[in-house]
């Protein structure tokens, strides 16, 4: 067995306001700037270690003296220490690094949020008119696609998959940006023409587990905490209606409860009360809208315009298109003519 290099040689990075030092490269994360001391609330160290989990360990093992362990078969074992400032990773042989990071930025980030008193909402988030707007819903509902469409219009992407929400002020929930990359299926990457900015998982095309992580450029990287303005509940697109309606009381609560990222983990960590309190605060302080939209991709502009108008967000130049980005080349003009024909 080769020994692992456990030097924290990568970073420092910034993730949800935390300074991250790592023994594995995390190219999705933005570099920590020493000028960012405004949010230097904690350091997280990501270390490598061999054989800290035995072969029988599976799933989530909570509240052992060593912290929380999570074993994802075929990928890695992860352990978050009791202080939630150290993550130990035990990669399985030959694991796809992108897949490993996907779990690190998914389940492990959710554990860090729960342990650090944040609420991890399953969704994708963009900055609209200076405020954070989250698109939340079950896997496959189109959260990342809609966030990417808005990002391509010039609205900065704040996070994808785990939206870390700080509810220390119950009246004004705050979104803590993660990193401006989005996880998409290859056909969506092709549609948005993000292929040049994407890294793909090693799983064969067309097989489960094949996805790409795409950077959205050009883009202003937002690292500071942002007030949360709204949450949109997404179902699988259906029908031919585009519109939004407010979910009230119990309906907002039930939706948010269903979209707590790995909510079962939060409960297994014994954090029922924290989770319940956060969901109730969020449902009270932030409007939750049901977003109706059609599955026709060529009507995505209608959805994008509806959301922009609802938040008075027209920061993008008028000649931007959600698929193409800036239209400033002869090639783009040719493309547009083709579309018109």
């Amino acid at each position: 067995m080769t020994s692992l290099n456990n030097t924290l040689q990568y970073g420092p990075y910034v993730l949800c306001g935390w300074r991250v030092e790592s023994a594995i490269p995390l190219p999705e994360l933005m570099a920590w700037s020493e000028a960012q001391e405004w949010n230097a609330e904690g350091i997280i160290r990501i270390e490598l270690q061999e054989s800290f989990l035995d072969d029988t360990a599976a799933g989530l093992c909570a509240n052992s003296e060593d912290g929380v362990s999570l074993r994802v078969k075929g990928v890695a074992g992860f352990r978050v220490n009791p202080g939630a400032d150290r993550v130990i990773v035990q990669p399985e042989a030959g694991v796809d690094p992108l897949l490993l990071r996907g779990h690190l930025f998914g389940s492990v980030l959710a554990i860090l949020c729960y342990r650090r008193g944040l609420f991890p909402l399953h969704g994708s988030c963009v900055l609209l008119n200076g405020e954070a707007v989250v698109f939340s819903g079950a896997s496959g509902a189109g959260k990342s696609t809609l966030a990417t469409a808005l990002a391509r219009r010039g609205h900065p992407l704040l996070c994808d998959d785990v939206c870390a929400i700080d509810l220390s002020n119950p009246r004004q929930p705050i979104l803590r940006p993660a990193f401006p990359r989005v996880k998409l299926l290859p056909d969506a990457i092709d549609c948005f023409q993000l292929g040049a900015a994407a890294t793909y998982s090693q799983a064969a095309q067309g097989m489960k587990g094949h996805f790409g992580m795409a950077a959205i450029q050009p883009m202003e990287a937002i690292q500071h905490p942002v007030p949360l303005a709204a949450i949109y509940a997404l179902d699988t697109p259906a029908g031919d209606k585009v519109g939004r309606s407010l979910l009230r009381g119990k309906n907002a609560f039930v939706f948010l409860e269903s979209q707590a990222h790995r909510g079962w983990m939060g409960r297994n960590l014994g954090l029922h009360n924290q989770l319940f309190g956060h969901i109730a605060m969020l449902a009270s302080a932030v409007p939750v809208y049901r977003l109706d939209r059609t599955c026709a991709l060529d009507r995505m502009d209608e959805v994008v315009c509806l959301v922009e108008a609802a938040h008075n967000a027209f920061a993008c130049p008028p000649d931007w298109n959600y698929v193409r980005g800036p239209r400033n080349s002869r090639e783009d003009a040719h493309y547009d003519r083709q579309q018109l024909n």
Binding site: R248, G249, K250, A252, F253, E257, R267, H272, N273, F276, G277, A280, M281, A283, S284
Partner: protein, 95 residues
């Protein structure tokens, strides 16, 4: 359950208002209840144990109805809470 029965909250429940709904959860089982209207107010009043009649009188004052008129709904609601193991009903103490 009679007018003199003493009602108390059972341990393990947490509750929060969301708009006009009082949402309750039993922490261990993650069982949820959604209380609307005067139901949420009754749960608030049960912060300390009260008799059924005391609840009827208090709600009667707040909603401007006779305590006797409130009694059927209060009893029906308390039955539902008892069924869901959210309250305990204590026998009246004889003077």
């Amino acid at each position: 359950m009679t007018d003199n029965s003493l009602i108390s909250r059972r341990e393990g429940w947490i509750a929060a208002w969301v708009d006009s709904n009082l949402i309750m959860m039993h922490a261990e089982s993650s069982f949820y209840l959604n209380l609307t209207g005067s139901g949420g107010r009754i749960w608030e009043l049960l912060e300390s144990p009260r008799s059924v009649w005391d609840l009827c009188e208090t709600l009667g004052r707040e909603f401007d109805i006779e305590p006797d008129a409130a009694r059927p709904e209060v009893l029906a609601f308390l039955d539902q809470l008892l069924l869901r193991k959210a309250i305990d009903v204590h026998l009246p103490v004889l003077a």
